[in-house]
Amino acid sequence: MISFISSFKPVFIALLLVAAVEAAVHQWGSKSDYNSNFFEFSPFREEKLQKFIIYDKFFLSGLASRPSDIMQVGDSSGLFGIKPKMVETQLHGLRYVNLGCCGDTGWKGYYDQAKLALRMNPEAKMLLLHVGPMLLPGDPRFNSWHPLNTSLHDHLLGPWRFFTLPSMHYRWKISRFIEFGQFDEPEIISTQFDESWNAKLKHLEHEDGWLPMPVDPATRPVEAVQKIADRNCEYEKSAEEVVLLGATKRRVLYPWLVRFAELAKDYNVKLAVVFGPVPCQREKIAGIDAIEDEVRRFQKEYPDVFIPHSMVNTYPLEDMADQIHLWPHATADYSKKLGGELSGWLTGKDGASGPYAPAAQ
């Protein structure tokens, strides 16, 4: 015992010192909103914008914890495409919140955000997964071990989220000091966008989670969108993940939809899967039948899940900024239309409808 105490004495004294420092910082030190290991705050590398969006939506703005009836998760097709206030005009008093973020988080990220949302708002009635079908995260760029979804899982959802210390918020200040010689936290979160966009980013709650597409439409005429569509209207890359040390591939859409359906069951909420609009023409898309078969199979096994749109929900080029994102001017109509579809389904008027419902086959 004496040997144990003498060996570990320096460790215990160090722990006591740390505890004293942390107590002092907690009592007298400065505070920051971004005190989480979720953030990197490395010098010479701008923090990922997606992290600010997720953190703001879930923790700073209070959007996730407020009593909403319908909670949307998924990629940026929904983040930039759905205006909750417009959806709500069709919902007869139900409240809608847009918690969607970004394809970079991958299927696992969408799933973890859905789980987090359902944990934070046990009163929710419906989970809505909104994805842009031309950029599904089966794409190798969005593979399931992406650092963003790993840190999302570890530091926002998993048990490690409790490992925070008062002094941790000095991390951002230190990295700013190394890089810019300043010790303050910046007003502007991302240098990629202008001030108005940054202001919106910091105050997502005013639009219940919606953000406008951060590209000036004047810089991207219809011809440019057409070129983007020609290049990106395909499913093949998005639908599969390489497995078994590269020996084979696995289709990922169906298994992930099943996981979402099971999650909704676990939390006793309804599930809607919404494929966002695209500028693509069905006949030009290779591999569409195979991937739609996965959705049909899913719908057959989970008839209670509402899938209002076909995977090729073609919108005019003028409304689209690229293969999955709407320009802001088109979001109001799209949101109202979606609100109407959800309302019809929730009130039971439309029953089990949608292009993949067994009745529609």
Partner: protein, 481 residues
């Protein structure tokens, strides 16, 4: 599973230690448990990566037994060739398939592109090169009569898969590890436990605080060197080279420290893999301090069988070059890895012919000569690290930007960049200098430190990790090998 993840440090390792101490008195059960735990550790991200691991393990266990049982030299030889062919075949397929398919086959246009596409999707299982060399040394030692087959299959599996050293070494020898696994190990003493804890913490500090931040500077240097073409932002190649030199050392030695610390907690003493390599004065000295388990492996199973230094100067030079080129190729497919190996081979030959460090010490006196030869060899090895890290596309730009000195980096307009860089370098070199003077590693100094110093080091490690440690950092570099 990554050593620097919460899952490993606060979940997997404590659980393994707990169960290990319950089972400790039963060797067979302990080894079985450690083997299964190691499989879980290894298959955390990909279950399929167990396939080559198990193939290699099972094959060498049975071939080892057959070699030992056979008295016919021809049979023994064929068994050994079978083992080497399968092991090297697995290694070659996973390590070189992508390179071979994209470069060689691609150039020759001899196979249709769909075949090449399939090959490019091959995923290299982590640690393949490490455990393949480990099992190969076992079979070769039995063939040479230096080792007898391990009587227990479970103990043998534990030797190959033991989680602390499975993914990135040290490449253990059966003669060192199997005897430790074959007996009931004592309860870890408090002194050993605190040393193990220090090894793990020091490893985490080196990985999260030093290696990953140097990694940022490597990226910055490479980006700026590319941008320097036609502009005045030059000298970035130096930043790239110095940062990578320290990054790879901190990264790899951190892994070894955490591996040795974790193993110590289950009563296993893993071999040392580093010993202050930045203070080496010549290439031979360097290879006795850098990745020791690989360099001794190459010496024992390649250089000496080739003839070593036994047949005159030319043959020695040839053997050195072959050994180092193959050592470069062991790291991965690519001309630059081969160039890195060749560079070190040439340095070994050069110093063999002209002992520059000895000349410097004679001319300048022992102390100044030692400093000069250390600085000279450090910069010679620095060129090797550029070859090791650069891509064929970025290499010319990096070398071009190195025509200008590092003071030009001030033009990056990064306010306290110099402070940051110098701080990181000091955090690597000062502890290593203290250890070098005593002929040990920094972690070996811990028991000799006064109490207040120990407390200071613990607090410094803790706050360095909290305040400047990278969160979503890089994987350990040697995972890819």
């Amino acid at each position: 599973m990554a050593f620097h993840s919460f899952t490993y440090l606060l979940g997997f390792l404590p659980l393994v230690l707990l169960i290990y101490h319950v089972l400790r008195r039963n060797v067979w059960l302990t080894n079985l448990f450690l083997t299964v735990a190691s499989w879980v550790f290894y298959a955390w991200f990909s279950l399929a990566s167990l396939i080559p691991l198990l193939t290699s393990s099972v094959l060498d266990f049975y071939i080892g037994k057959k070699i030992h049982a056979s008295s016919n030299p021809k049979t023994r030889k064929w068994l050994l060739i079978t083992s080497l062919t399968v092991n090297l075949g697995i290694l070659a397929f996973f390590k070189y398939a992508v390179w071979f398919s994209t470069s060689v086959i691609g150039w020759l246009h001899v196979v249709d592109s769909s075949f090449i596409t399939v090959l490019t999707q091959v995923v290299l299982p982590a640690g393949l090169s490490f455990y393949t060399f480990q099992t190969m040394s076992y079979t070769i030692d039995i063939y040479r009569g230096k080792e007898v087959p391990c009587p227990s299959f479970v103990t043998y599996l534990c030797f190959v898969t033991l989680f602390p050293q499975l993914v990135a070494g040290p490449i253990e020898r059966s003669t060192h590890l199997i005897p430790q696994l074959s007996r009931v190990r004592e309860v870890v003493s408090p002194q050993m436990a605190v040393l193990a804890l220090f090894l793990i913490s020091w490893g985490l500090f080196k990985k999260i605080v030093l290696a990953d931040n140097f990694g940022l500077l490597v990226e910055l240097g490479e980006t700026q060197a590319r941008a320097a073409q036609g502009h005045d932002m030059v000298g970035a190649g130096w930043l790239f080279a110095y940062s990578f030199c320290f990054q790879i050392y901190c990264d790899f030695s951190a892994y070894t420290d955490i591996a040795r610390g974790s193993a110590l907690l289950i009563g296993i003493d893993l071999m040392r893999n580093f010993k202050t390599p930045h203070f080496a004065r010549n290439p031979s000295d360097f290879w006795q301090r850098w990745h020791i388990s690989l360099s001794t492996w190459l010496r024992d199973y390649l250089y000496i069988p080739l003839g070593g230094n036994r047949h005159g100067g030319w043959n020695t030079a040839r053997n050195l070059l072959i050994t180092m080129v193959l050592g470069g190729l062991w790291h991965g497919a690519g001309m630059l890895f081969i160039a890195w190996g060749l560079w070190h081979g040439l340095l070994l030959v050069l110093y063999h012919m002209i002992p520059i460090d000895k000349h410097l010490e004679t001319k300048l006196g022992k102390r100044i000569g030692a400093v000069c030869s250390t600085l000279l060899f450090f910069h010679l090895s620095l060129f090797g690290w550029i070859l090791f890290r650069a891509s064929p596309e970025s290499l010319p730009m990096i070398l071009e930007s190195m025509r200008y000195n590092m003071s030009h980096i001030a033009r990056f307009h990064l306010e306290n960049f110099h402070l940051f860089f110098v701080g990181l370098v000091c955090a690597v070199l000062i502890p290593d200098w203290l250890a070098y003077r005593k002929g040990v590693e920094f972690t070996d100094l811990y028991p000799r430190m006064p109490g207040w110093c120990k407390v200071g080091v613990w607090v410094a490690i803790f706050y360095a990790i909290i305040l400047i440690g990278k969160r979503a950092g890089y994987d350990f570099i040697y995972f890819q090998f």
